[in-house]
Protein backbone atom coordinates (compact mmCIF):
# COMPACT_ATOMS: atom_id res chain seq x y z
CA UNK A 1 0.00 0.00 0.00
CA UNK A 2 1.32 3.41 -0.88
CA UNK A 3 1.91 5.65 2.13
CA UNK A 4 -0.54 8.49 2.64
CA UNK A 5 0.34 11.76 0.94
CA UNK A 6 1.13 14.44 3.51
CA UNK A 7 0.66 18.13 2.76
CA UNK A 8 1.50 21.44 4.43
CA UNK A 9 -1.62 23.49 5.08
CA UNK A 10 -0.54 26.23 7.47
CA UNK A 11 2.59 28.12 8.54
CA UNK A 12 3.22 30.24 11.64
CA UNK A 13 6.60 31.75 12.32
CA UNK A 14 8.67 34.32 14.08
CA UNK A 15 12.09 35.14 12.70
CA UNK A 16 14.55 37.93 13.45
CA UNK A 17 13.36 39.64 10.25
CA UNK A 18 9.66 38.86 10.25
CA UNK A 19 6.70 37.63 12.29
CA UNK A 20 4.62 36.30 9.40
CA UNK A 21 5.55 34.31 6.31
CA UNK A 22 4.68 37.28 4.08
CA UNK A 23 6.93 39.67 6.02
CA UNK A 24 9.74 37.10 6.26
CA UNK A 25 9.58 36.30 2.55
CA UNK A 26 9.49 39.95 1.55
CA UNK A 27 12.63 40.61 3.57
CA UNK A 28 14.38 37.59 2.08
CA UNK A 29 13.67 38.92 -1.40
CA UNK A 30 14.64 42.49 -0.45
CA UNK A 31 17.93 41.63 1.23
CA UNK A 32 16.80 42.69 4.73
CA UNK A 33 18.75 40.92 7.47
CA UNK A 34 17.59 40.69 11.08
CA UNK A 35 20.77 40.58 13.15
CA UNK A 36 21.29 43.18 15.89
CA UNK A 37 23.37 43.91 18.98
CA UNK A 38 22.25 42.01 22.06
CA UNK A 39 23.36 42.08 25.69
CA UNK A 40 24.40 38.70 27.03
CA UNK A 41 24.90 38.04 30.75
CA UNK A 42 28.58 37.98 31.78
CA UNK A 43 29.69 38.61 28.17
CA UNK A 44 28.49 42.11 27.28
CA UNK A 45 27.15 43.26 23.94
CA UNK A 46 27.25 40.63 21.21
CA UNK A 47 25.38 39.99 17.96
CA UNK A 48 22.20 37.92 17.77
CA UNK A 49 19.02 37.36 15.83
CA UNK A 50 16.20 38.56 18.08
CA UNK A 51 12.47 38.02 17.46
CA UNK A 52 10.02 40.87 18.04
CA UNK A 53 6.65 39.11 17.99
CA UNK A 54 3.99 40.06 20.54
CA UNK A 55 3.77 37.27 23.17
CA UNK A 56 0.51 38.72 24.50
CA UNK A 57 -1.23 38.07 21.20
CA UNK A 58 -1.95 34.52 22.35
CA UNK A 59 -0.86 34.35 25.99
CA UNK A 60 -1.89 35.97 29.24
CA UNK A 61 0.77 37.90 31.12
CA UNK A 62 0.84 35.19 33.76
CA UNK A 63 1.46 32.49 31.14
CA UNK A 64 4.41 34.47 29.83
CA UNK A 65 5.75 34.92 33.37
CA UNK A 66 5.39 31.27 34.35
CA UNK A 67 6.41 29.75 31.04
CA UNK A 68 9.59 29.78 28.98
CA UNK A 69 10.60 31.78 25.94
CA UNK A 70 10.63 28.56 23.89
CA UNK A 71 7.10 27.83 25.10
CA UNK A 72 5.97 31.32 24.18
CA UNK A 73 7.52 31.14 20.72
CA UNK A 74 5.89 27.74 20.21
CA UNK A 75 2.46 29.03 21.23
CA UNK A 76 2.76 32.05 18.95
CA UNK A 77 3.83 29.93 15.98
CA UNK A 78 1.22 27.22 16.61
CA UNK A 79 -1.62 29.74 16.87
CA UNK A 80 -0.44 31.57 13.76
CA UNK A 81 -0.18 28.29 11.83
CA UNK A 82 -3.68 27.23 12.90
CA UNK A 83 -5.11 30.59 11.87
CA UNK A 84 -3.27 30.38 8.55
CA UNK A 85 -4.52 26.84 7.92
CA UNK A 86 -8.15 27.91 8.12
CA UNK A 87 -9.00 24.71 9.98
CA UNK A 88 -11.96 24.74 12.36
CA UNK A 89 -9.75 23.85 15.29
CA UNK A 90 -12.57 23.88 17.81
CA UNK A 91 -14.23 21.06 15.91
CA UNK A 92 -11.12 18.84 15.74
CA UNK A 93 -10.95 15.97 18.25
CA UNK A 94 -8.07 17.21 20.41
CA UNK A 95 -6.88 13.70 21.24
CA UNK A 96 -6.15 13.20 17.53
CA UNK A 97 -3.89 16.25 17.28
CA UNK A 98 -0.13 15.78 17.67
CA UNK A 99 2.43 18.46 18.52
CA UNK A 100 6.01 17.67 17.48
CA UNK A 101 8.55 20.42 18.09
CA UNK A 102 12.23 20.20 17.26
CA UNK A 103 14.70 21.70 19.74
CA UNK A 104 18.45 22.05 19.72
CA UNK A 105 18.50 22.20 23.51
CA UNK A 106 16.09 23.12 26.27
CA UNK A 107 16.58 24.05 29.92
CA UNK A 108 19.83 25.97 29.74
CA UNK A 109 18.08 29.34 29.89
CA UNK A 110 16.10 28.59 33.03
CA UNK A 111 18.97 26.84 34.77
CA UNK A 112 21.29 29.76 34.11
CA UNK A 113 18.61 32.19 35.32
CA UNK A 114 18.14 30.27 38.56
CA UNK A 115 21.85 30.03 39.28
CA UNK A 116 22.10 33.77 38.68
CA UNK A 117 19.08 34.27 40.96
CA UNK A 118 20.51 32.30 43.89
CA UNK A 119 23.88 34.00 43.43
CA UNK A 120 22.07 37.06 44.83
CA UNK A 121 21.24 35.02 47.94
CA UNK A 122 24.69 33.56 48.64
CA UNK A 123 23.77 30.44 46.64
CA UNK A 124 21.15 29.39 49.18
CA UNK A 125 19.01 26.88 47.25
CA UNK A 126 15.86 27.72 49.23
CA UNK A 127 15.57 30.62 46.77
CA UNK A 128 15.55 28.23 43.78
CA UNK A 129 12.28 28.52 41.84
CA UNK A 130 9.56 25.89 42.16
CA UNK A 131 8.99 26.46 38.43
CA UNK A 132 12.44 25.15 37.54
CA UNK A 133 11.39 21.59 36.76
CA UNK A 134 8.32 22.31 34.58
CA UNK A 135 10.35 24.96 32.78
CA UNK A 136 13.32 22.73 32.06
CA UNK A 137 11.80 19.37 31.17
CA UNK A 138 12.72 18.58 27.59
CA UNK A 139 9.08 18.53 26.46
CA UNK A 140 8.41 22.04 27.80
CA UNK A 141 7.78 23.90 24.51
CA UNK A 142 5.36 21.25 23.26
CA UNK A 143 3.74 20.89 26.67
CA UNK A 144 3.10 24.61 27.01
CA UNK A 145 1.56 24.56 23.53
CA UNK A 146 -0.72 21.67 24.45
CA UNK A 147 -1.89 23.60 27.53
CA UNK A 148 -2.56 26.72 25.50
CA UNK A 149 -4.45 24.87 22.77
CA UNK A 150 -6.17 22.23 24.88
CA UNK A 151 -4.55 19.49 22.80
CA UNK A 152 -4.74 16.11 24.53
CA UNK A 153 -2.94 14.06 21.88
CA UNK A 154 0.82 13.42 21.92
CA UNK A 155 2.86 16.59 22.45
CA UNK A 156 6.61 16.34 22.77
CA UNK A 157 9.89 17.71 21.54
CA UNK A 158 12.47 16.12 19.34
CA UNK A 159 16.05 16.77 20.34
CA UNK A 160 18.24 16.75 17.27
CA UNK A 161 20.68 19.65 17.68
CA UNK A 162 20.42 21.97 14.69
CA UNK A 163 18.79 19.30 12.53
CA UNK A 164 15.73 19.50 14.78
CA UNK A 165 13.52 21.80 12.71
CA UNK A 166 13.42 19.36 9.82
CA UNK A 167 12.97 16.52 12.29
CA UNK A 168 9.76 18.01 13.66
CA UNK A 169 8.22 17.90 10.18
CA UNK A 170 9.60 14.47 9.36
CA UNK A 171 8.33 12.98 12.60
CA UNK A 172 4.89 14.53 12.11
CA UNK A 173 4.66 13.09 8.59
CA UNK A 174 5.56 9.68 9.98
CA UNK A 175 2.94 9.89 12.74
CA UNK A 176 0.25 10.95 10.25
CA UNK A 177 1.18 8.05 7.99
CA UNK A 178 1.06 5.63 10.90
CA UNK A 179 -2.42 6.89 11.75
CA UNK A 180 -1.30 7.91 15.25
CA UNK A 181 -2.83 11.37 14.78
CA UNK A 182 -5.07 13.09 12.23
CA UNK A 183 -3.65 16.58 12.45
CA UNK A 184 -0.12 17.66 13.30
CA UNK A 185 1.47 20.89 14.49
CA UNK A 186 5.18 20.56 13.90
CA UNK A 187 8.49 22.26 13.19
CA UNK A 188 11.15 23.75 15.43
CA UNK A 189 11.84 26.51 17.93
CA UNK A 190 14.81 28.06 19.69
CA UNK A 191 15.25 30.31 22.72
CA UNK A 192 19.04 29.90 22.63
CA UNK A 193 19.99 33.58 22.67
CA UNK A 194 18.79 33.79 26.27
CA UNK A 195 21.54 31.48 27.50
CA UNK A 196 25.05 32.87 27.75
CA UNK A 197 26.40 29.34 27.60
CA UNK A 198 25.77 28.87 23.90
CA UNK A 199 27.54 32.15 23.10
CA UNK A 200 30.44 31.32 25.40
CA UNK A 201 30.66 27.82 24.00
CA UNK A 202 30.87 28.96 20.39
CA UNK A 203 33.31 31.71 21.36
CA UNK A 204 35.58 29.19 23.06
CA UNK A 205 35.31 27.14 19.88
CA UNK A 206 36.37 30.24 17.88
CA UNK A 207 33.08 29.93 16.00
CA UNK A 208 31.18 33.08 17.05
CA UNK A 209 30.75 35.67 14.29
CA UNK A 210 31.90 39.25 14.72
CA UNK A 211 31.42 42.21 12.39
CA UNK A 212 31.19 45.97 12.85
CA UNK A 213 27.87 45.93 10.98
CA UNK A 214 25.52 43.42 12.66
CA UNK A 215 23.55 42.86 9.47
CA UNK A 216 26.71 41.72 7.67
CA UNK A 217 27.90 39.38 10.41
CA UNK A 218 26.28 36.21 9.10
CA UNK A 219 28.07 35.59 5.82
CA UNK A 220 28.11 31.97 4.65
CA UNK A 221 30.34 31.27 1.64
CA UNK A 222 32.17 34.61 1.91
CA UNK A 223 35.95 34.41 2.26
CA UNK A 224 35.83 36.64 5.34
CA UNK A 225 33.19 34.61 7.19
CA UNK A 226 34.19 34.12 10.80
CA UNK A 227 31.49 32.12 12.49
CA UNK A 228 27.91 31.77 13.64
CA UNK A 229 25.37 34.43 14.59
CA UNK A 230 23.13 32.84 17.22
CA UNK A 231 19.41 33.51 16.84
CA UNK A 232 16.11 32.70 18.40
CA UNK A 233 13.01 31.90 16.41
CA UNK A 234 10.31 29.44 15.62
CA UNK A 235 8.36 28.00 12.74
CA UNK A 236 5.51 25.55 13.11
CA UNK A 237 3.45 24.00 10.34
CA UNK A 238 0.13 22.27 10.18
CA UNK A 239 0.42 18.95 8.38
CA UNK A 240 -2.46 16.81 7.25
CA UNK A 241 -3.11 13.78 5.12
CA UNK A 242 -4.02 14.93 1.63
CA UNK A 243 -7.55 13.56 1.70
CA UNK A 244 -8.30 15.42 4.95
CA UNK A 245 -6.91 18.67 3.60
CA UNK A 246 -8.86 18.32 0.37
CA UNK A 247 -12.06 17.41 2.19
CA UNK A 248 -12.05 20.76 3.95
CA UNK A 249 -10.83 22.68 0.91
CA UNK A 250 -7.55 23.67 2.53
CA UNK A 251 -4.90 25.80 0.88
CA UNK A 252 -1.88 23.57 0.23
CA UNK A 253 1.63 25.00 0.37
CA UNK A 254 3.36 21.84 -0.78
CA UNK A 255 3.64 18.11 -0.31
CA UNK A 256 6.19 16.23 1.80
CA UNK A 257 8.03 14.39 -0.96
CA UNK A 258 10.79 12.60 0.92
CA UNK A 259 13.35 12.81 3.66
CA UNK A 260 16.31 11.13 5.25
CA UNK A 261 18.04 11.27 8.62
CA UNK A 262 21.42 9.76 9.36
CA UNK A 263 24.41 10.11 11.68
CA UNK A 264 28.07 10.82 10.99
CA UNK A 265 29.40 8.64 13.82
CA UNK A 266 32.69 10.43 13.36
CA UNK A 267 33.06 13.53 15.59
CA UNK A 268 31.38 15.60 18.27
CA UNK A 269 31.38 18.83 16.28
CA UNK A 270 33.08 18.43 12.90
CA UNK A 271 30.71 17.71 10.00
CA UNK A 272 31.22 14.75 7.72
CA UNK A 273 30.62 15.53 4.03
CA UNK A 274 30.44 11.86 3.09
CA UNK A 275 27.53 11.26 5.47
CA UNK A 276 25.92 14.58 4.47
CA UNK A 277 26.00 13.62 0.80
CA UNK A 278 24.60 10.21 1.72
CA UNK A 279 21.75 11.90 3.59
CA UNK A 280 20.93 14.12 0.60
CA UNK A 281 21.09 11.22 -1.88
CA UNK A 282 18.87 9.00 0.24
CA UNK A 283 16.31 11.78 0.70
CA UNK A 284 16.17 12.30 -3.06
CA UNK A 285 15.76 8.55 -3.59
CA UNK A 286 13.08 8.42 -0.88
CA UNK A 287 11.19 11.10 -2.79
CA UNK A 288 11.45 9.08 -6.00
CA UNK A 289 13.35 11.95 -7.62
CA UNK A 290 16.76 12.55 -9.18
CA UNK A 291 19.12 15.45 -8.41
CA UNK A 292 17.98 17.12 -11.63
CA UNK A 293 14.45 17.29 -10.23
CA UNK A 294 15.54 19.46 -7.28
CA UNK A 295 15.24 23.14 -8.17
CA UNK A 296 16.23 24.75 -4.86
CA UNK A 297 18.79 23.46 -2.39
CA UNK A 298 18.61 25.42 0.84
CA UNK A 299 21.92 24.90 2.57
CA UNK A 300 22.55 24.49 6.26
CA UNK A 301 25.81 26.50 6.04
CA UNK A 302 26.39 28.48 9.24
CA UNK A 303 29.40 30.57 8.11
CA UNK A 304 32.05 28.62 9.92
CA UNK A 305 35.21 28.43 7.80
CA UNK A 306 35.32 24.64 7.61
CA UNK A 307 31.62 23.73 7.85
CA UNK A 308 30.62 25.69 4.76
CA UNK A 309 33.32 24.07 2.66
CA UNK A 310 32.31 20.60 3.81
CA UNK A 311 28.64 21.11 3.00
CA UNK A 312 29.60 22.49 -0.42
CA UNK A 313 31.67 19.37 -0.94
CA UNK A 314 28.63 17.23 -0.13
CA UNK A 315 26.34 19.22 -2.44
CA UNK A 316 28.91 19.14 -5.23
CA UNK A 317 29.17 15.37 -4.86
CA UNK A 318 25.42 14.94 -5.33
CA UNK A 319 24.54 17.66 -7.84
CA UNK A 320 27.88 18.17 -9.64
CA UNK A 321 27.69 20.11 -12.89
CA UNK A 322 24.78 18.17 -14.31
CA UNK A 323 21.87 20.04 -12.74
CA UNK A 324 21.53 23.30 -14.67
CA UNK A 325 18.10 24.07 -13.20
CA UNK A 326 19.16 23.62 -9.57
CA UNK A 327 19.63 26.77 -7.51
CA UNK A 328 21.44 26.86 -4.17
CA UNK A 329 20.81 29.41 -1.44
CA UNK A 330 21.17 30.08 2.28
CA UNK A 331 18.81 31.74 4.74
CA UNK A 332 21.15 32.08 7.73
CA UNK A 333 22.84 34.99 5.95
CA UNK A 334 19.68 36.97 6.82
CA UNK A 335 18.66 35.64 10.22
CA UNK A 336 21.72 33.93 11.67
CA UNK A 337 21.49 30.42 13.00
CA UNK A 338 18.12 29.86 14.67
CA UNK A 339 19.28 26.49 15.97
CA UNK A 340 16.28 24.17 16.50
CA UNK A 341 14.11 26.51 14.45
CA UNK A 342 16.58 26.82 11.59
CA UNK A 343 15.42 24.00 9.36
CA UNK A 344 11.74 24.85 9.74
CA UNK A 345 12.24 28.59 9.19
CA UNK A 346 14.55 28.14 6.24
CA UNK A 347 12.08 25.83 4.51
CA UNK A 348 9.26 28.30 5.05
CA UNK A 349 11.29 31.10 3.52
CA UNK A 350 11.58 29.10 0.32
CA UNK A 351 8.10 27.63 -0.05
CA UNK A 352 6.66 30.74 -1.77
CA UNK A 353 9.06 29.98 -4.65
CA UNK A 354 6.55 27.39 -5.89
CA UNK A 355 4.29 30.30 -6.77
CA UNK A 356 6.57 33.26 -7.55
CA UNK A 357 9.37 31.24 -9.21
CA UNK A 358 11.86 33.44 -7.43
CA UNK A 359 14.80 32.07 -5.45
CA UNK A 360 15.93 34.17 -2.52
CA UNK A 361 19.67 34.73 -2.42
CA UNK A 362 22.37 34.20 0.16
CA UNK A 363 23.48 37.71 1.12
CA UNK A 364 26.67 39.22 2.51
CA UNK A 365 28.87 37.53 -0.09
CA UNK A 366 31.37 40.26 -0.96
CA UNK A 367 34.16 37.90 -1.88
CA UNK A 368 33.03 34.37 -2.70
CA UNK A 369 35.23 31.65 -1.27
CA UNK A 370 36.27 29.60 -4.34
CA UNK A 371 35.79 26.44 -2.30
CA UNK A 372 32.12 27.42 -1.89
CA UNK A 373 31.54 28.36 -5.53
CA UNK A 374 28.72 25.95 -6.26
CA UNK A 375 26.93 25.95 -9.61
CA UNK A 376 23.58 27.67 -9.19
CA UNK A 377 24.54 29.54 -6.00
CA UNK A 378 22.26 32.58 -5.80
CA UNK A 379 24.34 35.47 -4.49
CA UNK A 380 23.11 38.78 -3.08
CA UNK A 381 20.14 39.19 -5.45
CA UNK A 382 17.15 36.91 -6.07
CA UNK A 383 17.15 34.70 -9.15
CA UNK A 384 14.28 33.82 -11.44
CA UNK A 385 13.72 30.12 -12.01
CA UNK A 386 12.12 28.51 -15.04
CA UNK A 387 10.34 26.18 -12.68
CA UNK A 388 10.34 25.26 -9.02
CA UNK A 389 8.92 21.81 -8.47
CA UNK A 390 10.99 20.55 -5.55
CA UNK A 391 12.83 22.22 -2.67
CA UNK A 392 15.50 20.33 -0.72
CA UNK A 393 16.24 21.58 2.77
CA UNK A 394 19.41 20.57 4.65
CA UNK A 395 19.80 20.83 8.40
CA UNK A 396 22.74 19.32 10.22
CA UNK A 397 23.66 19.27 13.88
CA UNK A 398 26.30 18.51 16.47
CA UNK A 399 27.15 14.94 17.35
CA UNK A 400 26.77 14.36 13.63
CA UNK A 401 23.04 14.28 13.01
CA UNK A 402 21.97 15.09 9.46
CA UNK A 403 18.48 15.69 8.13
CA UNK A 404 17.31 16.40 4.61
CA UNK A 405 13.69 17.17 3.80
CA UNK A 406 12.23 17.56 0.32
CA UNK A 407 8.95 19.35 -0.34
CA UNK A 408 7.43 19.31 -3.80
CA UNK A 409 4.92 21.51 -5.53
CA UNK A 410 1.46 20.13 -4.91
CA UNK A 411 -0.10 18.57 -7.95
CA UNK A 412 -3.45 16.93 -7.36
Amino acid sequence: MKPARIVITGIGLTAPNGNTLAEFRQNLLSGVAGVETFDVRYMGTLLAGVCHYDPLKYQKKKEVRVGTRAGSISIYCAREALADSGVNFEALPKDRVGIYIGCTEHGNVETENEIYNISKFNYDTKFWSHYHNPRTVANNPAGETSLNLGVTGPAYTIGAACAAGNMGLIHAAQMLRLGEVDFAICGGVSESIHTFGIFAGFKSQNALATHEDPKKASRPFDKARNGIVISEGGCLYTLERLEDAQARGAKIYGEIAGYHVNSDASDYVLPNPTRQAECVRKAIAHAGLTPQDIHIVNTHATATPLGDIQECEAIRAVFGEGCPDTFVNNTKSFIGHAMGAAGALELAGNLPSFDDLTVHPTINVDDLDPQCALPGLVINRPAKAKRVDAILNNSFGMLGINSTLIVKRFVA
Binding site: K60, K61, K62, R65, V66, F127, S129, H130, Y131
Partner: protein
Protein backbone atom coordinates in the same frame (compact mmCIF):
# COMPACT_ATOMS: atom_id res chain seq x y z
CA UNK B 1 4.13 47.83 60.16
CA UNK B 2 0.34 48.17 60.33
CA UNK B 3 -2.03 45.49 59.15
CA UNK B 4 -3.04 47.69 56.23
CA UNK B 5 0.61 48.09 55.24
CA UNK B 6 1.00 44.33 55.51
CA UNK B 7 -1.97 43.81 53.19
CA UNK B 8 -0.34 46.16 50.71
CA UNK B 9 2.85 44.10 50.81
CA UNK B 10 0.83 41.00 49.90
CA UNK B 11 -1.09 42.89 47.22
CA UNK B 12 2.17 44.08 45.64
CA UNK B 13 3.34 40.48 45.43
CA UNK B 14 0.03 39.27 43.98
CA UNK B 15 0.13 42.06 41.39
CA UNK B 16 3.42 40.63 40.13
CA UNK B 17 2.48 36.96 40.17
CA UNK B 18 -1.05 37.42 38.79
CA UNK B 19 -0.58 40.34 36.38
CA UNK B 20 -3.81 39.73 34.49
CA UNK B 21 -6.00 40.11 37.57
CA UNK B 22 -7.91 43.21 38.68
CA UNK B 23 -7.03 43.68 42.36
CA UNK B 24 -8.99 46.89 42.92
CA UNK B 25 -12.07 45.25 44.45
CA UNK B 26 -10.58 42.40 46.47
CA UNK B 27 -12.58 41.64 49.59
CA UNK B 28 -10.14 41.26 52.50
CA UNK B 29 -12.22 38.70 54.35
CA UNK B 30 -12.83 36.38 51.37
CA UNK B 31 -10.39 33.66 50.32
CA UNK B 32 -8.00 34.88 47.63
CA UNK B 33 -8.57 31.68 45.63
CA UNK B 34 -12.29 32.44 45.52
CA UNK B 35 -11.64 35.85 43.97
CA UNK B 36 -8.57 35.29 41.80
CA UNK B 37 -7.26 32.60 39.51
CA UNK B 38 -4.52 31.40 41.83
CA UNK B 39 -3.24 27.83 41.95
CA UNK B 40 -0.92 26.06 44.35
CA UNK B 41 2.17 27.17 42.42
CA UNK B 42 1.02 30.78 42.76
CA UNK B 43 0.79 30.39 46.53
CA UNK B 44 4.32 29.02 46.49
CA UNK B 45 5.20 32.24 44.63
CA UNK B 46 3.76 34.30 47.47
CA UNK B 47 5.80 32.30 49.96
CA UNK B 48 8.94 32.69 47.82
CA UNK B 49 8.49 36.44 47.36
CA UNK B 50 7.95 36.96 51.11
CA UNK B 51 11.22 35.13 51.62
CA UNK B 52 13.11 37.01 48.89
CA UNK B 53 11.77 40.51 49.43
CA UNK B 54 11.24 40.55 53.18
CA UNK B 55 13.18 37.68 54.72
CA UNK B 56 9.99 36.13 56.07
CA UNK B 57 9.62 32.35 56.24
CA UNK B 58 6.21 30.73 56.06
CA UNK B 59 6.42 27.04 56.98
CA UNK B 60 4.24 24.67 54.99
CA UNK B 61 2.04 24.00 58.03
CA UNK B 62 1.10 27.69 58.04
CA UNK B 63 0.18 28.07 54.36
CA UNK B 64 -3.51 28.16 55.30
CA UNK B 65 -2.81 31.43 57.13
CA UNK B 66 -2.35 33.06 53.70
CA UNK B 67 -5.91 32.28 52.59
CA UNK B 68 -7.30 35.84 52.64
CA UNK B 69 -5.86 39.34 52.92
CA UNK B 70 -7.21 39.59 56.47
CA UNK B 71 -5.64 36.30 57.52
CA UNK B 72 -2.38 37.30 55.79
CA UNK B 73 -2.32 40.50 57.84
CA UNK B 74 -3.09 38.66 61.09
CA UNK B 75 -0.35 36.12 60.45
CA UNK B 76 2.34 38.25 58.82
CA UNK B 77 2.17 41.52 60.75
CA UNK B 78 3.78 40.04 63.90
CA UNK B 79 6.50 38.53 61.71
CA UNK B 80 7.26 41.91 60.15
CA UNK B 81 7.22 43.50 63.62
CA UNK B 82 9.61 40.84 64.91
CA UNK B 83 12.00 41.80 62.11
CA UNK B 84 11.77 45.44 63.18
CA UNK B 85 9.74 46.44 60.12
Amino acid sequence: MTKDQCKQVVLDIIADIAPDEDLSNLKPDVRLRDQLQLDSMDFLDIVMELRKRHGIEVPEADYMQLASLDSCAEYLTPKFTALGK
